[in-house]
Protein backbone atom coordinates (compact mmCIF):
# COMPACT_ATOMS: atom_id res chain seq x y z
CA UNK A 1 0.00 0.00 0.00
CA UNK A 2 2.71 2.43 0.91
CA UNK A 3 5.30 3.69 -1.43
CA UNK A 4 8.50 2.84 0.43
CA UNK A 5 10.46 5.84 -0.73
CA UNK A 6 11.67 7.88 2.24
CA UNK A 7 10.63 11.53 2.15
CA UNK A 8 11.88 12.66 5.55
CA UNK A 9 14.79 11.02 7.31
CA UNK A 10 16.04 12.10 10.69
CA UNK A 11 19.29 10.60 11.85
CA UNK A 12 20.96 11.18 15.18
CA UNK A 13 18.96 14.36 15.52
CA UNK A 14 19.52 16.38 18.66
CA UNK A 15 18.55 19.83 19.85
CA UNK A 16 20.01 21.56 22.87
CA UNK A 17 18.72 24.92 24.02
CA UNK A 18 21.38 26.95 25.73
CA UNK A 19 20.28 29.64 28.13
CA UNK A 20 22.41 31.67 30.49
CA UNK A 21 22.75 29.16 33.26
CA UNK A 22 21.91 25.79 31.86
CA UNK A 23 21.50 23.60 28.85
CA UNK A 24 18.22 21.94 28.08
CA UNK A 25 18.23 18.85 25.92
CA UNK A 26 14.98 19.08 24.01
CA UNK A 27 15.77 16.19 21.68
CA UNK A 28 18.39 13.51 21.75
CA UNK A 29 19.40 10.94 19.15
CA UNK A 30 16.16 10.91 17.18
CA UNK A 31 16.14 8.45 14.29
CA UNK A 32 13.04 8.30 12.14
CA UNK A 33 12.23 7.54 8.55
CA UNK A 34 8.96 8.76 7.14
CA UNK A 35 7.86 7.36 3.81
CA UNK A 36 6.15 9.05 0.93
CA UNK A 37 2.38 8.95 1.11
CA UNK A 38 1.95 7.86 4.71
CA UNK A 39 0.30 9.63 7.61
CA UNK A 40 2.85 9.50 10.36
CA UNK A 41 1.97 10.39 13.91
CA UNK A 42 4.28 11.69 16.60
CA UNK A 43 2.73 11.54 20.03
CA UNK A 44 4.01 12.55 23.41
CA UNK A 45 3.04 14.33 26.58
CA UNK A 46 3.57 18.06 26.75
CA UNK A 47 7.21 18.90 27.23
CA UNK A 48 8.34 15.68 25.59
CA UNK A 49 9.91 17.61 22.72
CA UNK A 50 7.41 16.95 19.96
CA UNK A 51 6.94 20.59 18.97
CA UNK A 52 10.69 21.04 18.76
CA UNK A 53 10.90 17.88 16.69
CA UNK A 54 8.42 19.08 14.09
CA UNK A 55 10.23 22.43 13.90
CA UNK A 56 13.48 20.62 13.27
CA UNK A 57 11.93 18.89 10.28
CA UNK A 58 11.48 22.21 8.46
CA UNK A 59 14.44 23.86 10.19
CA UNK A 60 12.40 26.50 11.97
CA UNK A 61 14.63 25.21 14.72
CA UNK A 62 18.13 24.33 13.63
CA UNK A 63 19.12 20.98 15.13
CA UNK A 64 22.31 21.08 17.19
CA UNK A 65 23.35 17.64 16.02
CA UNK A 66 22.36 15.04 13.47
CA UNK A 67 20.88 15.30 10.05
CA UNK A 68 17.55 16.03 8.41
CA UNK A 69 17.14 14.66 4.91
CA UNK A 70 14.13 15.96 3.03
CA UNK A 71 13.33 14.61 -0.40
CA UNK A 72 16.96 13.61 -0.89
CA UNK A 73 18.49 16.91 0.27
CA UNK A 74 20.40 17.43 3.50
CA UNK A 75 18.69 20.53 4.92
CA UNK A 76 21.67 21.36 7.14
CA UNK A 77 23.97 21.77 4.16
CA UNK A 78 21.64 24.04 2.17
CA UNK A 79 22.28 27.73 1.64
CA UNK A 80 19.70 30.03 3.26
CA UNK A 81 18.03 30.67 -0.09
CA UNK A 82 17.67 27.00 -0.93
CA UNK A 83 16.40 26.26 2.55
CA UNK A 84 13.62 28.84 2.12
CA UNK A 85 12.84 27.21 -1.20
CA UNK A 86 12.73 23.75 0.41
CA UNK A 87 10.26 25.05 3.00
CA UNK A 88 7.84 25.82 0.21
CA UNK A 89 7.64 22.06 -0.30
CA UNK A 90 6.65 21.59 3.34
CA UNK A 91 3.33 23.02 4.39
CA UNK A 92 2.63 23.52 8.05
CA UNK A 93 -0.50 24.03 10.13
CA UNK A 94 -0.71 25.04 13.76
CA UNK A 95 -2.81 24.70 16.87
CA UNK A 96 -3.68 28.40 16.82
CA UNK A 97 -4.16 28.45 13.01
CA UNK A 98 -1.87 31.49 12.67
CA UNK A 99 -3.81 33.13 9.88
CA UNK A 100 -3.06 36.72 8.91
CA UNK A 101 -5.83 38.60 10.71
CA UNK A 102 -5.81 41.55 8.31
CA UNK A 103 -6.29 39.42 5.21
CA UNK A 104 -9.43 37.62 4.15
CA UNK A 105 -9.54 33.88 3.50
CA UNK A 106 -8.67 34.16 -0.17
CA UNK A 107 -5.79 36.56 0.50
CA UNK A 108 -4.48 34.27 3.23
CA UNK A 109 -4.33 31.37 0.79
CA UNK A 110 -2.63 33.61 -1.77
CA UNK A 111 0.02 34.56 0.79
CA UNK A 112 2.49 31.66 0.30
CA UNK A 113 2.04 32.02 -3.46
CA UNK A 114 2.95 35.71 -3.24
CA UNK A 115 6.05 34.73 -1.26
CA UNK A 116 6.97 32.28 -3.99
CA UNK A 117 6.53 34.95 -6.66
CA UNK A 118 3.49 33.44 -8.38
CA UNK A 119 1.65 36.02 -10.55
CA UNK A 120 -1.40 37.51 -8.81
CA UNK A 121 -4.03 36.15 -11.13
CA UNK A 122 -2.64 32.66 -11.12
CA UNK A 123 -2.42 32.76 -7.34
CA UNK A 124 -6.04 33.80 -7.06
CA UNK A 125 -7.22 30.97 -9.28
CA UNK A 126 -5.17 28.46 -7.31
CA UNK A 127 -6.59 29.86 -4.06
CA UNK A 128 -10.13 29.37 -5.36
CA UNK A 129 -9.34 25.75 -6.21
CA UNK A 130 -8.06 25.21 -2.69
CA UNK A 131 -11.13 26.80 -1.13
CA UNK A 132 -13.12 24.21 -2.97
CA UNK A 133 -10.95 21.37 -1.67
CA UNK A 134 -11.48 22.49 1.92
CA UNK A 135 -15.16 23.19 1.29
CA UNK A 136 -15.25 26.89 2.03
CA UNK A 137 -15.90 28.48 -1.36
CA UNK A 138 -18.50 30.78 0.18
CA UNK A 139 -16.04 32.17 2.74
CA UNK A 140 -13.51 33.60 0.27
CA UNK A 141 -14.12 37.19 1.40
CA UNK A 142 -14.48 36.44 5.12
CA UNK A 143 -11.79 37.60 7.54
CA UNK A 144 -10.41 35.14 10.11
CA UNK A 145 -12.22 37.00 12.91
CA UNK A 146 -15.50 36.05 11.24
CA UNK A 147 -14.69 32.34 11.00
CA UNK A 148 -15.08 29.50 13.50
CA UNK A 149 -12.09 27.50 14.70
CA UNK A 150 -12.76 24.65 12.30
CA UNK A 151 -13.16 27.04 9.38
CA UNK A 152 -9.94 28.81 10.31
CA UNK A 153 -8.09 25.52 10.33
CA UNK A 154 -9.56 24.66 6.93
CA UNK A 155 -8.28 27.95 5.55
CA UNK A 156 -4.91 27.25 7.17
CA UNK A 157 -4.85 23.83 5.49
CA UNK A 158 -5.71 25.39 2.14
CA UNK A 159 -2.91 27.92 2.69
CA UNK A 160 -0.43 25.19 3.59
CA UNK A 161 -1.34 23.29 0.42
CA UNK A 162 -1.11 26.29 -1.90
CA UNK A 163 2.46 25.70 -3.00
CA UNK A 164 1.86 21.99 -3.70
CA UNK A 165 4.01 20.73 -0.84
CA UNK A 166 5.21 17.16 -0.60
CA UNK A 167 4.77 17.06 3.15
CA UNK A 168 2.21 18.63 5.45
CA UNK A 169 3.32 19.15 9.05
CA UNK A 170 0.49 19.39 11.57
CA UNK A 171 1.48 20.77 14.95
CA UNK A 172 -1.37 19.98 17.37
CA UNK A 173 -3.69 21.03 14.57
CA UNK A 174 -6.85 19.82 16.28
CA UNK A 175 -5.99 20.54 19.90
CA UNK A 176 -7.93 23.80 19.97
CA UNK A 177 -11.04 22.28 18.39
CA UNK A 178 -14.08 20.49 19.79
CA UNK A 179 -14.48 16.72 19.14
CA UNK A 180 -16.87 17.07 16.20
CA UNK A 181 -14.75 19.67 14.46
CA UNK A 182 -11.65 17.62 15.22
CA UNK A 183 -13.18 14.67 13.42
CA UNK A 184 -14.08 16.73 10.36
CA UNK A 185 -10.57 18.22 10.18
CA UNK A 186 -9.03 14.76 10.53
CA UNK A 187 -11.28 13.47 7.76
CA UNK A 188 -10.17 16.37 5.58
CA UNK A 189 -6.52 15.50 6.24
CA UNK A 190 -7.17 11.87 5.37
CA UNK A 191 -8.87 12.92 2.17
CA UNK A 192 -5.97 15.18 1.23
CA UNK A 193 -3.54 12.36 1.90
CA UNK A 194 -5.47 9.98 -0.30
CA UNK A 195 -6.43 12.32 -3.13
CA UNK A 196 -3.29 14.41 -3.40
CA UNK A 197 -0.81 11.84 -2.11
CA UNK A 198 0.72 14.29 0.32
CA UNK A 199 2.70 12.83 3.19
CA UNK A 200 1.28 14.06 6.48
CA UNK A 201 3.17 14.29 9.75
CA UNK A 202 0.88 14.74 12.71
CA UNK A 203 2.09 15.96 16.10
CA UNK A 204 -0.36 15.46 18.91
CA UNK A 205 -0.82 14.54 22.54
CA UNK A 206 -4.12 12.81 21.85
CA UNK A 207 -4.14 9.09 21.12
CA UNK A 208 -7.48 9.37 19.37
CA UNK A 209 -5.99 11.58 16.67
CA UNK A 210 -3.36 8.92 15.99
CA UNK A 211 -5.95 6.14 15.95
CA UNK A 212 -8.17 8.05 13.62
CA UNK A 213 -5.79 8.84 10.79
CA UNK A 214 -2.23 7.59 11.22
CA UNK A 215 -0.59 4.59 9.58
CA UNK A 216 2.47 4.61 11.78
CA UNK A 217 3.30 6.30 15.02
CA UNK A 218 6.37 7.33 16.97
CA UNK A 219 6.06 7.85 20.68
CA UNK A 220 8.34 10.47 22.08
CA UNK A 221 9.18 10.70 25.73
CA UNK A 222 11.73 12.82 27.55
CA UNK A 223 13.50 13.89 24.36
CA UNK A 224 13.83 10.34 23.03
CA UNK A 225 11.83 8.14 20.71
CA UNK A 226 10.40 5.46 22.97
CA UNK A 227 8.66 3.36 20.36
CA UNK A 228 7.90 3.37 16.63
CA UNK A 229 5.55 1.10 14.75
CA UNK A 230 2.28 0.58 12.93
CA UNK A 231 -0.57 2.13 14.87
CA UNK A 232 -2.41 -1.19 15.33
CA UNK A 233 0.71 -2.83 16.62
CA UNK A 234 1.50 -0.12 19.13
CA UNK A 235 -2.09 0.03 20.17
CA UNK A 236 -2.49 -3.68 20.77
CA UNK A 237 0.92 -4.37 22.25
CA UNK A 238 2.45 -1.22 23.61
CA UNK A 239 5.98 -2.05 24.68
CA UNK A 240 7.29 1.06 26.40
CA UNK A 241 5.97 2.45 29.64
CA UNK A 242 4.99 5.72 28.03
CA UNK A 243 3.15 3.93 25.23
CA UNK A 244 1.12 1.99 27.75
CA UNK A 245 0.38 5.19 29.56
CA UNK A 246 -0.88 6.87 26.38
CA UNK A 247 -2.84 3.88 25.11
CA UNK A 248 -4.39 2.99 28.43
CA UNK A 249 -4.80 6.55 29.58
CA UNK A 250 -8.42 6.03 30.64
CA UNK A 251 -7.84 3.26 33.14
CA UNK A 252 -5.43 4.89 35.52
CA UNK A 253 -8.05 4.68 38.21
CA UNK A 254 -8.56 0.89 38.17
CA UNK A 255 -5.90 0.40 40.79
CA UNK A 256 -8.42 1.71 43.24
CA UNK A 257 -10.77 -1.20 42.75
CA UNK A 258 -10.91 -3.90 45.34
CA UNK A 259 -9.93 -7.39 44.32
CA UNK A 260 -6.61 -9.04 43.87
CA UNK A 261 -6.89 -10.43 40.40
CA UNK A 262 -7.55 -8.36 37.36
CA UNK A 263 -7.13 -9.20 33.74
CA UNK A 264 -6.86 -7.03 30.66
CA UNK A 265 -8.45 -8.50 27.57
CA UNK A 266 -7.27 -7.03 24.32
CA UNK A 267 -9.43 -6.76 21.23
CA UNK A 268 -7.06 -6.78 18.33
CA UNK A 269 -9.51 -6.42 15.50
CA UNK A 270 -10.05 -10.15 14.91
CA UNK A 271 -12.34 -11.20 17.67
CA UNK A 272 -14.61 -8.22 17.79
CA UNK A 273 -17.52 -9.82 16.02
CA UNK A 274 -17.82 -12.55 18.59
CA UNK A 275 -19.54 -11.84 21.85
CA UNK A 276 -16.36 -12.66 23.77
CA UNK A 277 -17.40 -11.74 27.26
CA UNK A 278 -20.86 -13.30 27.09
CA UNK A 279 -19.45 -16.55 25.75
CA UNK A 280 -16.78 -16.55 28.41
CA UNK A 281 -19.27 -16.11 31.21
CA UNK A 282 -21.63 -18.70 29.77
CA UNK A 283 -18.96 -21.27 29.22
CA UNK A 284 -17.08 -20.86 32.48
CA UNK A 285 -20.27 -20.24 34.45
CA UNK A 286 -18.40 -17.63 36.40
CA UNK A 287 -19.68 -14.07 36.58
CA UNK A 288 -17.11 -11.33 36.06
CA UNK A 289 -17.07 -7.70 36.95
CA UNK A 290 -16.10 -5.29 34.16
CA UNK A 291 -13.89 -2.56 35.59
CA UNK A 292 -13.01 -0.68 32.47
CA UNK A 293 -13.78 -0.91 28.78
CA UNK A 294 -12.68 1.10 25.81
CA UNK A 295 -13.08 0.13 22.20
CA UNK A 296 -12.23 2.07 19.10
CA UNK A 297 -12.67 1.82 15.42
CA UNK A 298 -9.34 1.83 13.63
CA UNK A 299 -9.39 1.42 9.88
CA UNK A 300 -12.80 -0.25 10.12
CA UNK A 301 -11.70 -2.82 12.68
CA UNK A 302 -12.62 -2.77 16.32
CA UNK A 303 -9.75 -2.39 18.69
CA UNK A 304 -9.93 -2.01 22.37
CA UNK A 305 -9.42 -3.40 25.77
CA UNK A 306 -11.41 -4.34 28.75
CA UNK A 307 -10.27 -4.84 32.29
CA UNK A 308 -12.24 -7.43 34.22
CA UNK A 309 -12.10 -8.47 37.82
CA UNK A 310 -11.30 -12.17 38.16
CA UNK A 311 -12.98 -14.37 40.72
CA UNK A 312 -11.06 -14.85 43.95
CA UNK A 313 -11.59 -18.59 44.01
CA UNK A 314 -9.03 -20.54 42.01
CA UNK A 315 -11.61 -22.64 40.26
CA UNK A 316 -13.41 -19.76 38.60
CA UNK A 317 -10.12 -18.04 37.92
CA UNK A 318 -8.65 -20.95 35.97
CA UNK A 319 -11.87 -21.46 34.04
CA UNK A 320 -11.69 -17.95 32.71
CA UNK A 321 -7.99 -18.03 31.95
CA UNK A 322 -8.52 -21.30 30.18
CA UNK A 323 -11.29 -19.89 28.10
CA UNK A 324 -9.12 -16.98 26.99
CA UNK A 325 -6.24 -19.30 26.20
CA UNK A 326 -8.22 -21.80 24.16
CA UNK A 327 -9.95 -19.07 22.17
CA UNK A 328 -6.65 -17.30 21.58
CA UNK A 329 -7.83 -14.01 22.94
CA UNK A 330 -4.88 -11.80 23.89
CA UNK A 331 -4.91 -10.97 27.57
CA UNK A 332 -2.64 -10.11 30.40
CA UNK A 333 -3.03 -10.16 34.10
CA UNK A 334 -2.72 -6.91 35.91
CA UNK A 335 -2.29 -6.38 39.59
Amino acid sequence: MLNQKPIVELSGLGKVFISKNNEVKALEDINLTIYEGEIFGIIGLSGAGKSTLVRCINFLERPTSGKVMFDGADLGSLMERDLLKARQSMGMIFQQFNLLMQRNALQNICFPLELAGVPKKEAKNRAKELLEIVGLTDKAKAYPAQLSGGQKQRIAIARALATNPKVLLCDEATSALDPTTTRSILNLLKEINQKLGITIIVITHEMKVIEEICNRVAIIDQSHIAEVGAVEEVFVKPKSKIARQLVFSGETHIDNYIGERKCRIIFDGKSSFEPVISNMVLESKTPVNILFADTKDIDGKAFGQMVIQLPDDDNGYYKIINYLKTHQIPYEEVR
Binding site: R87, L99, L115, P144
Partner: protein
Protein backbone atom coordinates in the same frame (compact mmCIF):
# COMPACT_ATOMS: atom_id res chain seq x y z
CA UNK B 1 -9.99 92.26 20.80
CA UNK B 2 -11.46 90.65 17.69
CA UNK B 3 -9.73 93.03 15.39
CA UNK B 4 -8.89 91.94 11.89
CA UNK B 5 -5.22 91.86 12.86
CA UNK B 6 -5.82 89.40 15.71
CA UNK B 7 -7.93 87.11 13.55
CA UNK B 8 -5.32 87.19 10.82
CA UNK B 9 -2.61 86.46 13.38
CA UNK B 10 -4.56 83.49 14.71
CA UNK B 11 -5.06 82.26 11.17
CA UNK B 12 -1.36 82.44 10.47
CA UNK B 13 -0.71 80.76 13.82
CA UNK B 14 -2.96 77.84 12.92
CA UNK B 15 -1.26 77.40 9.58
CA UNK B 16 2.20 77.54 11.15
CA UNK B 17 1.24 75.05 13.82
CA UNK B 18 -0.20 72.63 11.26
CA UNK B 19 2.84 73.06 9.04
CA UNK B 20 5.28 72.41 11.88
CA UNK B 21 3.28 69.46 13.18
CA UNK B 22 2.66 67.63 9.95
CA UNK B 23 5.96 68.35 8.26
CA UNK B 24 7.93 67.25 11.36
CA UNK B 25 5.70 64.19 11.77
CA UNK B 26 6.31 63.19 8.17
CA UNK B 27 10.09 63.50 8.35
CA UNK B 28 10.18 61.97 11.84
CA UNK B 29 8.32 58.93 10.46
CA UNK B 30 10.75 58.65 7.56
CA UNK B 31 13.44 58.22 10.21
CA UNK B 32 11.49 56.62 13.06
CA UNK B 33 9.64 53.93 11.11
CA UNK B 34 12.73 52.15 9.79
CA UNK B 35 14.46 52.51 13.16
CA UNK B 36 11.42 51.01 14.90
CA UNK B 37 11.40 48.13 12.41
CA UNK B 38 15.12 47.57 12.95
CA UNK B 39 14.62 47.56 16.73
CA UNK B 40 12.14 44.70 16.33
CA UNK B 41 13.82 42.55 13.69
CA UNK B 42 17.37 42.81 15.02
CA UNK B 43 16.29 41.92 18.55
CA UNK B 44 17.84 38.68 19.78
CA UNK B 45 14.40 37.08 19.53
CA UNK B 46 13.70 38.85 16.23
CA UNK B 47 13.55 37.51 12.69
CA UNK B 48 17.05 38.76 11.79
CA UNK B 49 18.92 39.02 15.09
CA UNK B 50 21.79 41.50 15.08
CA UNK B 51 22.33 42.27 18.71
CA UNK B 52 25.15 44.89 18.47
CA UNK B 53 23.12 47.06 16.07
CA UNK B 54 20.05 46.59 18.22
CA UNK B 55 21.94 47.72 21.34
CA UNK B 56 23.42 50.79 19.63
CA UNK B 57 20.04 51.88 18.23
CA UNK B 58 18.41 51.31 21.61
CA UNK B 59 20.99 53.46 23.38
CA UNK B 60 20.69 56.32 20.86
CA UNK B 61 16.90 56.25 21.09
CA UNK B 62 16.98 56.26 24.87
CA UNK B 63 19.55 59.06 25.04
CA UNK B 64 17.59 61.41 22.82
CA UNK B 65 14.34 60.53 24.51
CA UNK B 66 15.67 61.35 27.95
CA UNK B 67 16.47 64.96 27.03
CA UNK B 68 13.45 67.19 27.86
CA UNK B 69 12.17 68.89 24.73
CA UNK B 70 12.62 72.45 25.99
CA UNK B 71 16.28 71.74 26.62
CA UNK B 72 16.74 69.90 23.33
CA UNK B 73 15.21 72.92 21.61
CA UNK B 74 18.07 75.09 22.85
CA UNK B 75 20.82 72.48 22.66
CA UNK B 76 20.40 71.83 18.95
CA UNK B 77 20.35 75.53 18.01
CA UNK B 78 23.87 75.56 16.51
CA UNK B 79 22.93 72.58 14.36
CA UNK B 80 19.68 74.25 13.32
CA UNK B 81 21.55 77.41 12.34
CA UNK B 82 23.96 75.33 10.29
CA UNK B 83 21.11 73.61 8.52
CA UNK B 84 18.50 76.34 8.07
CA UNK B 85 20.53 79.52 8.61
CA UNK B 86 18.36 80.78 11.47
CA UNK B 87 17.02 79.55 14.81
CA UNK B 88 13.71 81.38 14.83
CA UNK B 89 10.54 80.73 12.90
CA UNK B 90 8.58 77.62 12.17
CA UNK B 91 11.02 76.06 9.74
CA UNK B 92 13.84 76.34 12.26
CA UNK B 93 11.73 74.63 14.95
CA UNK B 94 11.09 71.70 12.65
CA UNK B 95 14.69 70.56 13.22
CA UNK B 96 14.47 69.97 16.99
CA UNK B 97 10.92 68.65 16.55
CA UNK B 98 12.18 65.94 14.21
CA UNK B 99 15.15 65.11 16.42
CA UNK B 100 12.92 64.79 19.48
CA UNK B 101 10.08 62.87 17.88
CA UNK B 102 11.91 60.40 15.62
CA UNK B 103 13.11 58.23 18.54
CA UNK B 104 9.70 58.53 20.17
CA UNK B 105 8.11 57.29 16.96
CA UNK B 106 10.67 54.50 16.72
CA UNK B 107 9.53 53.24 20.15
CA UNK B 108 5.86 53.56 19.19
CA UNK B 109 6.47 51.59 15.99
CA UNK B 110 8.49 49.03 17.92
CA UNK B 111 5.72 48.40 20.41
CA UNK B 112 3.11 48.15 17.64
CA UNK B 113 5.14 45.60 15.69
CA UNK B 114 5.83 43.58 18.83
CA UNK B 115 2.09 43.06 19.21
CA UNK B 116 2.06 40.93 16.05
CA UNK B 117 1.42 37.31 16.97
CA UNK B 118 4.63 35.27 17.00
CA UNK B 119 2.71 32.34 15.56
CA UNK B 120 1.81 34.28 12.43
CA UNK B 121 5.46 35.17 11.91
CA UNK B 122 6.40 31.53 12.41
CA UNK B 123 3.77 30.51 9.85
CA UNK B 124 5.31 32.90 7.32
CA UNK B 125 8.75 31.46 8.07
CA UNK B 126 7.42 27.96 7.56
CA UNK B 127 6.37 29.05 4.07
CA UNK B 128 9.88 30.19 3.27
CA UNK B 129 9.38 33.94 3.71
CA UNK B 130 12.55 36.05 3.80
CA UNK B 131 12.98 38.56 6.64
CA UNK B 132 12.22 41.39 4.22
CA UNK B 133 9.01 39.68 3.08
CA UNK B 134 8.02 39.19 6.70
CA UNK B 135 8.52 42.90 7.36
CA UNK B 136 6.39 44.24 4.54
CA UNK B 137 3.89 41.41 4.15
CA UNK B 138 3.37 40.37 7.76
CA UNK B 139 4.68 42.80 10.39
CA UNK B 140 3.50 46.08 8.89
CA UNK B 141 0.10 45.00 7.52
CA UNK B 142 -0.76 43.00 10.65
CA UNK B 143 0.26 45.88 12.93
CA UNK B 144 -1.45 48.52 10.76
CA UNK B 145 -4.33 49.38 13.13
CA UNK B 146 -1.92 49.80 16.01
CA UNK B 147 0.48 51.80 13.81
CA UNK B 148 -2.35 54.16 12.87
CA UNK B 149 -3.27 54.79 16.51
CA UNK B 150 0.42 55.27 17.27
CA UNK B 151 0.52 57.79 14.42
CA UNK B 152 -2.31 59.81 15.93
CA UNK B 153 -0.57 59.78 19.30
CA UNK B 154 2.73 60.82 17.70
CA UNK B 155 1.14 63.71 15.78
CA UNK B 156 -0.63 65.09 18.85
CA UNK B 157 2.58 64.83 20.87
CA UNK B 158 4.47 66.69 18.16
CA UNK B 159 1.73 69.31 18.16
CA UNK B 160 2.21 69.92 21.88
CA UNK B 161 6.01 70.05 21.39
CA UNK B 162 5.51 72.61 18.65
CA UNK B 163 3.59 74.80 21.11
CA UNK B 164 6.56 74.72 23.48
CA UNK B 165 8.73 76.12 20.76
CA UNK B 166 6.92 79.43 21.28
CA UNK B 167 9.52 80.13 23.97
CA UNK B 168 12.26 80.43 21.37
CA UNK B 169 10.18 82.28 18.82
CA UNK B 170 9.08 79.23 16.92
CA UNK B 171 5.86 80.67 15.58
CA UNK B 172 2.47 79.02 15.58
CA UNK B 173 -0.29 79.02 18.19
CA UNK B 174 2.04 78.24 21.08
CA UNK B 175 4.07 81.30 20.25
CA UNK B 176 0.93 83.46 20.28
CA UNK B 177 -0.25 82.00 23.59
CA UNK B 178 3.08 82.67 25.23
CA UNK B 179 3.48 86.17 23.84
CA UNK B 180 -0.03 87.38 24.63
CA UNK B 181 -0.91 85.30 27.64
CA UNK B 182 2.42 85.12 29.43
CA UNK B 183 4.24 88.31 28.51
CA UNK B 184 1.26 90.67 27.98
CA UNK B 185 -1.39 89.23 30.29
CA UNK B 186 -3.95 89.15 27.49
CA UNK B 187 -5.69 86.11 28.84
CA UNK B 188 -8.47 86.09 26.28
CA UNK B 189 -6.22 85.58 23.29
CA UNK B 190 -4.35 82.91 25.16
CA UNK B 191 -7.59 81.09 25.94
CA UNK B 192 -8.65 81.26 22.32
CA UNK B 193 -5.38 79.68 21.20
CA UNK B 194 -5.80 76.97 23.84
CA UNK B 195 -9.30 76.21 22.57
CA UNK B 196 -8.05 76.01 18.98
CA UNK B 197 -5.23 73.66 20.06
CA UNK B 198 -7.70 71.43 21.89
CA UNK B 199 -9.92 71.27 18.83
CA UNK B 200 -7.02 70.37 16.55
CA UNK B 201 -5.90 67.61 18.92
CA UNK B 202 -9.44 66.25 19.09
CA UNK B 203 -9.77 66.18 15.32
CA UNK B 204 -6.45 64.35 14.88
CA UNK B 205 -7.28 61.85 17.61
CA UNK B 206 -10.76 61.14 16.30
CA UNK B 207 -9.57 60.84 12.71
CA UNK B 208 -6.88 58.41 13.86
CA UNK B 209 -9.35 56.18 15.67
CA UNK B 210 -11.87 56.27 12.83
CA UNK B 211 -9.17 55.29 10.36
CA UNK B 212 -7.92 52.54 12.67
CA UNK B 213 -11.40 51.06 13.00
CA UNK B 214 -11.85 51.01 9.27
CA UNK B 215 -8.46 49.42 8.73
CA UNK B 216 -8.80 46.73 11.40
CA UNK B 217 -10.33 43.50 10.09
CA UNK B 218 -10.39 41.86 13.49
CA UNK B 219 -13.41 43.86 14.68
Amino acid sequence: MWSEAVIKMLGVGIMETLYMTFFSSFVAYVIGLPVGILLVVTDKEGIAPLVPLNKVLGIIVNLVRSVPFVILLITVMPFTRLLIGTTIGSTAVVVPLIIASAPYIARLVESSLKEVDKGVIEAAQSMGATPLQIIYKVLIPEAMPSLIVGGAIAVTTILSYSAMSGFVGGGGLGDIAIRYGYYRYETEIMLVTVVILVIIVQIIQEAGFKWMKRADKRL
